[in-house]
Symmetry: C2
Subunit: 272 residues, 2 copies
């Protein structure tokens, strides 16, 4: 998907919501366990219920890989079920030497049809660049994550006063432009979002951490907004586990709509 198309969808749906598809067999409604592929049934209902409110979907690969071969098949079917006007994110956090990264790119961009994949920056340029070789496909690079462990290394300050996440922003923005590269910026560090925005004014951010992890849409928009909106705010558990009865689809729709309404208001205020 191109950046222009993504912005068009944000304006059309009045939303910059990403729904995280992190399904856990022990948490999905019990009646689904009768199906051959309960996770796929769950995802289909969630996607149908939320697709008017979301512009992006983000399956987290751990939740599929832990189910083995069946899980990988479910992931593939889920990707295919997500409507093509939604931005599809493989939340895989891959990254390896160049020779290997090109096979990961093949997995997500050829064997499946994701628009983007999340990548860890530790191994540097050649672990990221192979993903840019696919037209209209994106890298979403970990910059500043929402978890407690983010403090272990991401804020390390070098002798020039540059923090590690700032160095990741600076160097990686030499590898890929704003039409191919986004950053993961956690909602739980709202002051830091402003810092990230000042370093990369034009790139989109994928923002996890709203809802169960504590961030809010208003805070994220306050610090992270740019002229294109520049934000995809993810909610996973708050939407997909809103209800564990047969009504879980309607409950998910309601939670997604709540977030979309907040986003529509912000888009209106910002005149986008």
């Amino acid at each position: 998907m191109t950046k222009e198309k993504l912005i068009e969808e944000i304006k059309r749906k009045k939303s910059f919501l990403c729904v995280g598809l992190d399904p856990d067999l022990s948490r999905i409604p019990k009646h689904l366990l009768e199906y051959d592929d309960p996770i796929y049934e769950f995802n289909k209902v969630i996607i149908d219920a939320t697709k008017d409110y979301a512009v992006a979907y983000k399956p987290n690969l751990a939740f599929y890989e832990c189910l083995g071969t069946q899980g990988w098949e479910t992931l593939k079917k889920t990707e295919a079920y997500i409507p093509d006007n939604c931005f599809k994110i493989a939340d895989a956090k891959r990254g390896d030497i160049g020779n290997t990264s090109k096979y990961y790119a093949k997995a997500f961009f050829e064997d499946m049809n994701f628009d983007s994949v999340t990548i860890a920056p530790y191994m540097g340029a050649d672990s990221v660049k192979p993903f840019f070789e696919y037209e209209n496909k994106w890298v979403i690079l970990l910059a500043l994550t929402s978890n407690a462990g983010a403090l272990d290394f991401q804020f390390s300050t070098d002798t020039k006063g540059e923090k590690l996440f700032e160095k990741v922003l600076r160097k990686s923005s030499e590898w890929g432009g704003e039409d191919r590269l986004m950053y993961v910026v956690g909602a739980t560090r709202s002051e830091a979002i402003a810092d990230v925005r000042s370093k990369v004014p034009n790139h989109f951010f994928l923002v996890p951490g709203v809802g169960a992890q504590g961030g809010t849409v208003a805070e994220v928009a306050k610090y992270g907004w740019n002229r294109d909106c520049g934000l995809l705010i993810n909610s996973s558990r708050g939407i997909i586990y809103a209800d564990d009865s047969e009504n879980f689809g309607a409950a998910a729709a309601e939670k997604a709509k709540e977030l979309q309404v907040q986003m529509a208001k912000i888009l209106e205020e910002k005149e986008l």
Copy 2:
């Protein structure tokens, strides 16, 4: 596998060789393409041919994921085929928030029976710790990688003079002991291996980069040795693609044996 058992196998086989199982459909011998699962056939021959010379096997997940569901099935069968007296490494370079990492741990330690998984450190403690919850299972954390991109971030020096990879060593060695945690230390930076060894004297290193990438066994042993040997030296392409005819097994055995002979000599010199 316990550390004691691993050291016992190193002494018994007089080897600290790890064979990297990175099979590519375009590079394996053509006659294998007639099989239902050519990659599995390839891996079986390679494992049979090298198991007297290798103490560890390391499938790189990218090479399986790019084949979709079939690739995941091949990975699972391959893991099951590797003899249990070999240390099994899922070279996955995972790492996510704690809530997610525990599902990756489940994938590699429950759905499959790997002894260890490679992990990227960028997201910090809570992305690593869930893997320690499995008895006798290991984390192999990226410290200093063998690729060019390693220079982008891993050598960043903080205000206290500590490089990022040194900080990764220091902090992570508080999370897991030498009986549960190894480090990836690339063979292409031999001087730096000595630096890593001085920081973590007792941990095992998984060392890629020997062979196709340019490092040598002697150099790695010179700088990385410890009282337990402390090294698993990986070779992938140099062994598995030694020949592309029907004789590829014998050619792989020969290449593995060449490395094992070098290792036996070092073990003898070191009186281990």
